[in-house]
Symmetry: C2
Subunit: 340 residues, 2 copies
């Protein structure tokens, strides 16, 4: 392993960025100047940013650096898709303590580059510096969209259908599984944890994907959502964002929440309520959106999209309708790392 | 003081962002959705990012949170000016450990907002999360420029004049002063350190400004630099960036390097070589640029700009010409926090 201190800053940056090529026509100038230069012609520019810190957002005991790079990029792409836009560029800032090697950073960049290749995004800038402890990653993603295509959070309407892509709760169950097996990872190296039949849960936690395909499918079917958000904090929390910002209420049907078989099995093993995991687990990176009621048939015919409820007037409040038809107030129990 | 844990994430973000108003016509939608929406019409978009970590880039023993917010914004604006562009928006991500209060974060945001007000920039997004230790700040700045006005680093030409704004080494001497007085700050609270006559040094370290005025003055005088960079790592290091990327050499004259009286006095007190401080200290946030030789008279007539050398053919190498006419190779001794 190569200690970072054996290279200078500029040699390190050169080594990390040497394989980066610009592939998007909107990227005019990338890494290597005071700022990157982009050209979006007549489109609107979208910007989103995320800061990921070791010990809070990820645990390197069971997260390979390459996967971390992939995920760090993808969670930002997801925010651009949630605006009905197209991600185009990222900038990457890293804070790195002495326990990391040059090869660790190269693995991280390999993951970043892979994600960028898969989604058609350029790395156009960044910054690598020391940190006192641990690994810090800040990624900013820039994208574009036609003005008329952008979908905000605050424009859901009474009677709209609430839709979600894919399934929920799997990333959270994957995290529970990894946490349980953590001792095996860190202690006895010979003893490999048994993840057979749980691959989907691990993949959802360690290598999530952003739903570019759903944005494309909606466009091809001529559907523009009335409001959209990506499920990062958890279904409850993110649906409440839409409702609060749009000044509407909602009815969410428990039995309609899409849950994968592996997620349900794992929840049973852990003696957890799988619906709670789906509502509050977060990190699903699925798209949660509303469409006008008259799109019902079109949406129903699209695979991978589930109608899970509908929007109401604000005075009706936000509720979960349980399987036994009880009306429970919907609560945001998502994000809490700062309050614990 | 209010513990951060007494507020939830969303209440905290609301409290920090409630006074943020969008003032730039390029900002369509700011904080509160998956991404910000910007409109640069026919201009090129510029993007730059910086990650600042406690214990590496700043020391909160002597850095007030408000100053840190101001500086964190300004150093990013400086990168956009160094492209001959105009900063327009920032996104702000914070990682915050438990030892910080809500008021600390409000002070930080007050500094950010002040910088944004002074420079005409909007805060359009961000992210606040927990950190295991210390304070982490990641800021991305977005700006614009006419395609024809953008100045890169790699376009300096043989015979160009090398110019720098303001004076150099003061921020570094301010840092030395603060480090010396650190025991006074942290230990005996009654005993105030004596900073009389050293205010300029402290201001340069704690509340630097970006040279918007120089960019404006150059434009008003019809001068477009051939290459430009901001002095963040140190004059040596940043001039070498221009030379390396432009594939040229340089002759830099020691006696021409602008140094303030307070900087010189402080260096004498510390028994340090003031030229070394000016060459390698960094954090000056002055603009270092090259102009064609025929602009000599115009540049000479402009106050606050110093001609400190000239560009040569690459085979001549990069040299400092000392006061006694010796030719010394120019070395980058700037940034080293990751290698120490």
């Amino acid at each position: 392993m190569t200690e970072i201190s054996t290279l200078g800053e500029f040699v390190l940056i050169e080594r990390l960025t040497k394989e980066i090529e610009l592939t998007q026509f909107t990227s005019i100038k990338g890494v290597g100047d005071d700022a990157a230069v982009l050209d979006f012609l007549e489109k609107r520019t979208l910007v989103t940013t995320d800061l990921l810190l070791e010990g809070i957002h990820f645990d390197l005991t069971y997260t390979p650096m390459k996967h971390l790079g992939y995920k760090a990029a993808v969670v930002n792409f997801s925010d651009i898709y949630a605006m009905n836009g197209c991600p185009q560029q990222i900038t990457v800032s890293l804070g790195v303590s002495k326990r990391f090697s040059v090869e660790d950073l190269e693995d991280f960049y390999a993951g970043l580059r892979l994600a960028c290749e898969v989604y058609g995004v350029d790395i156009v800038g960044g910054d690598t510096s020391a940190s006192v402890t641990g690994f810090a990653v800040s990624i900013t993603c820039i994208g574009f969209a036609d003005e008329s295509k952008i979908v905000y959070r605050d424009t859901a309407q009474d009677t709209d259908l609430i839709c979600v892509s894919g399934d929920l709760g799997a990333a959270y169950m994957g995290l529970q599984l990894l946490e349980r097996e953590k001792t095996v990872f860190s202690g006895k190296e010979d003893l490999q944890p048994d993840f057979a039949g749980k691959e989907y849960l691990l993949e959802r936690q360690l290598k999530p994907e952003a739903r570019k395909d759903i944005v494309k499918m909606l466009a091809e079917n001529g559907i523009k959502p009335t409001a959209m958000i990506d499920v990062s904090d958890g279904l409850s929390s993110d649906l409440l964002h839409i409702c609060k910002q749009s000044n509407v209420g909602c009815q969410l049907f428990e039995e309609r929440i899409p849950i994968d078989y592996q997620t349900a099995m794992m929840a049973e093993t852990f003696n957890m309520n799988v619906v709670t995991a789906a509502l509050n687990g977060g990190e699903d990176y699925e798209l949660l959106f509303t469409v006008p009621l008259h799109e019902h048939d079109k949406i129903s015919a699209m695979s991978g999209i589930h109608i899970i409820g509908y929007i109401t007037k604000p005075e009706n409040g936000c509720h979960l309708i349980t399987r036994d038809s009880q009306e429970m107030p919907l609560k945001a129990q998502g994000w809490s790392s700062i309050t614990e």
